[in-house]
Assembly symmetry: C2
Homo-oligomer: 250 residues x 2
């Protein structure tokens, strides 16, 4: 009998290999085939030069998952990769949905390997901005109605959460961050501390500390995570670090 | 001149060493002193048998930070550890606040090393429940007014976020999860899928899938993370996995 194939959905962390978990590293090393978006494949190419690599452009998520499932049904050990954590705006969910549709799990297995997501990596580069209750919102309305996203931005602001914005802006989506900004200003002080973190833990990492009032004056792109503090977030240690206090008496 | 000391605030991940990042592993290996809560020290003891270990009981967070800062001012390389990510309900924020108070960073350095937080690790063991916008809320009111927490629970429910609850219950805090549950039921369907994840990625990992209606019938303790789905979260792949769809057409 031939061996049973398996797909691992692997979060490779923010970008450089040292922020990958040991489990993610070993899983990729032990896989026969690596499937992923070209940009992410490039981030780990030093790890996978001896592997079969199936690399895709943007917006081919379903094809990637189908390919990974097909290969596993043929008995292959496959890693399908996402940057950050694979379970936060990554490939894990779609992979499970595709496997469910194909009734594939009778003939192959699936395992999710977690990773350090963009907001956590960005927070570490900035200090400790998400030490207290926070929300994660993607501003991409490609797959989600804008009304749902805007309501979430409003509720997050009214709850005085720290707010991490994924996919804040791209060439095709310029207005969303402006509308979200207007909503935030209705419920949060314009002096709220904001960090704009681009290419975190990659070459050309750039961190800008600003305020809610001024945040749109700075460069934001599809490699940016925006972290908006709560009402108690402040700069600390000679303005080196952004900190949201947990509430300890110092 | 003596060497400059440094404190690394290190997130060791959910518990087993393989879910630690390579950077966290190497940082701990390269440190002279390890400071932490005894339970977390025990999780990594195979890594640190040749180190000076300063282990504390619960509720000694400030002492731990002061000790780490003092040692670094004496020129030592110190890792202060938290389980999960050190920047999410961990030691990073308090460490920076203590260092700020002591004006310590003229004589020592601080670096934050991110890790896989409990909600991300739990999600991977369950499937893909936090594939879409989510909030993280700690139900511990030791340091935060309960009114603030309760408002956040309400706003999270009204925004139809996936909700990850940290510190849901302990010996001394039994009522908080009951009040939160009442609030959630006002805004979310009682059939909402809920996962109760205890000791994730440790020995005796236990995952229970239930509904919002029934969640309090199951065992919840201080090693539990509770993940409450959004209105579209469902079970998938023969009920093996909990999935919150991103919105792709399958």
């Amino acid at each position: 009998m031939s061996k049973k194939g398996k797909v691992y959905a692997v979060g490779i962390g923010p970008g450089n290999i040292e922020h990958m978990t040991i489990k993610a590293y070993n899983t990729i090393k032990d896989s026969e085939v690596i499937v992923g978006y070209k940009t992410y494949i490039d981030l780990i190419k030093s790890l996978i030069h001896d592997k079969e690599i199936i690399s895709y452009g943007m917006k081919s998520e379903k094809e990637r998952c189908k390919k990974a499932v097909d290969l596993a049904r043929q008995g292959k050990i496959v890693s399908i990769i996402s940057s950050g954590d694979v379970g936060i705006y990554g490939m894990a969910g779609l992979l499970l949905e595709v496997a469910d549709q194909n009734k594939s799990t009778k003939t192959m297995e699936i395992e999710i390997v977690p990773g350090v997501t963009a907001s956590v990596a960005a927070a570490a580069s900035i200090g400790a901005p998400i030490m207290h209750d926070y929300v994660s919102i993607s501003l991409s309305d490609l797959l989600t109605d804008w009304e749902v996203i805007e309501k979430r931005v409003e509720m997050a602001a009214r709850g005085d959460f720290v707010i991490c914005l994924y996919n804040p802006k791209s060439k095709g989506r310029q207005r969303q961050i402006e509308i979200a900004h207007d909503t935030l200003l209705k419920h949060k002080s314009e002096e709220t501390v904001v960090a704009i973190a681009t290419n975190v833990k990659r070459q050309n990492e750039k961190i800008t500390i600003t305020t809610l009032k001024d945040m749109l004056k700075h460069s934001i792109d599809m490699f940016t995570t925006v972290i908006i503090g709560n009402s108690k977030t402040h700069m600390s240690v000679d303005d080196q670090f952004m900190v949201t206090p947990r509430g300890y008496k110092i």
